[in-house]
Symmetry: C2
Subunit: 316 residues, 2 copies
């Protein structure tokens, strides 16, 4: 569940959060990547992600099967972010009348493949005509002990899975009319929800977690706000993917499906090596949780201004 | 869950069902208004409905709050159709940049009101920019003993709740540039999912059930196909709403959220009176289930041809 818009940090959409206030008691409290619903002694985690041509992707960037994979993986990442186990997927797809028959079948095949990758089944959906390609994914799963955004405490370390910045570089290339480098393109086309790593991190004592769909600085800001703390991030420590054009892509670029986790100070580099071996993804300490508010970005030992002007497609 | 398109009975979308076949073991079997997921000893019923401006509604037909009500009620009707108890609603909304701020708030308020009407809570959603107004509703609830489409047997009676045809008349008026009559408009704008009636019908022994989103003849066809029987419907018995232009609206018009139920032959008019008193909706026998296939429409005691050329917006 993203109750913020993915359109960026501008003021234009700020009023939207107020909508939920108007719903009052008819709406559950917001704040995490998923909603949690008590169910027969268990907790159901459920999340929905709406992707619309022109806003979230452009025709021609990815073939339909990869598009389906990417959209499903992005939705499933919301389950990973709270340490839930994916169970089922509902896929609503609107397809233009002029689209070839294979478009829908290929999109659905990508959705099915990404779901199967994390053990989830496509249980239903809706198929309609639309003047734009529209895909809404609702994903749900079980979660014994969810890791929320709100549990980080001063003194925790901040750790990130994987390496960042490649999706932003891919988008920049497409927007400039170029084909992205293979390393950039692959990361954009084929994200893998960090389901196993998330559960490992929960078991290791993670106090708060979030996925990086808005980029590490923006999402660290969400985690800081939810936890009532500050996130201090050392720019030089943020792992930059070989597919990124520069460090700024790793800091400001979104459309990532890695995890940012707050872990107790006792969590060590040695623990991170175990995670890497068991879950197949590196884990890097990028900063610490402090008293205060917001995100403090440090370069060369000094706080610097945050890169401004986040735009939707992830690149500055 | 509607795995068929709401665009009508034409051949153009027939290939779509084949998509699910390609998903193979990664997709659950289709066929009912909802998908059913075993969960902690219970059964979770879940359904999704995608509504897109231009395909499912046109700007200006309804103010946003009524649009939100209608879209949510239509989705919740899929839970009613299997005798499930609604619990939660996820609302994904795409809004054009040029839309006034109140549009989203008003749509969400309508969604919240329709959900509260049947005891469900808006637990989450997604809010994005889109070049068209797009609303995807995922609804879920618990169901002890679902009534499926597939249980009807020869000898059962076919009964329908409420009275039909008003939505088709409302759409015809709007498409002709007229404001609909109040009785037509109200039925289009303010459908009420038949949650209580459905559970009453289940307890009364309903063998199969479906809602009438595609219209009584089309949906009787779906029920007949799923049950491996024929549905014989007597035209003169189909209750015509005061907001319908003529009987044809009640037979061929869709966008209805009443229920068609197959009930044992022992179910009587006296039982229907009890339902009407307890659930506040009339129940009328419109035909019987027979051996065979498809829908047999009878007028003046003789089988007649089905009205052809269903179109999306519900009117012929």
């Amino acid at each position: 569940m993203t109750r913020h818009t993915p359109l960026g940090g501008g003021a234009e959409f700020d009023g939207i959060r107020a909508v939920w206030a108007r719903l009052g008691a008819r709406a559950a409290p917001a704040g995490d990547d998923c909603a949690f619903v008590p169910w027969a002694g268990t907790l159901l985690a459920i999340s929905t992600d709406l992707s619309v041509e022109g806003t979230h992707f452009r025709a021609g960037w990815l073939p339909p099967r990869e598009l389906g994979w990417r959209i499903a993986a992005a939705a499933l990442s919301d389950l990973a972010a709270v340490a839930a186990t994916p169970v089922g997927v509902m896929a609503s797809v609107g397809v233009p009348e002029v689209a070839p028959d294979e478009l829908l079948a290929d999109v659905m095949e990508g959705i099915g493949a990404a779901s199967a990758e994390v053990g989830a089944t496509v249980v239903g959906g809706d198929l309609v005509r639309a003047d734009l390609l529209v895909v809404d994914m609702t994903v749900f799963g079980g979660v014994e002990r969810p890791v929320r955004r709100s549990g980080a405490a001063a003194g925790d370390g901040l750790w990130v899975t994987g390496a960042l910045g490649a999706p932003a570089a891919a988008i920049r290339a497409w927007e400039a009319g170029r084909e992205p480098r293979a390393a950039s393109r692959e990361r954009f086309a084929h994200p893998v929800p960090r389901v196993a790593a998330a559960q490992w991190l929960r078991d290791a004592g993670a106090t708060a977690m979030i996925d990086l769909s808005d980029g590490i600085l923006a999402d660290a800001g969400h985690l800081a706000a939810a936890s009532g703390v500050a996130c201090r991030i050392e720019s030089e420590r943020v792992p930059v993917h070989a597919g990124a054009d520069d460090r700024r892509d790793a800091l400001a670029g979104g459309e990532e499906y890695e995890l940012l986790a707050a872990l107790p100070a006792t969590f060590s580099e040695r623990d991170a090596v175990v995670l890497a071996r068991e879950c197949g993804v590196p884990l890097t300490q990028v900063g610490v949780v402090e008293q205060g508010a917001g995100v403090v970005l440090v370069e060369g030992g000094r706080p610097v201004e945050l890169p401004g002007g986040f735009r939707h497609f992830g690149g500055p």
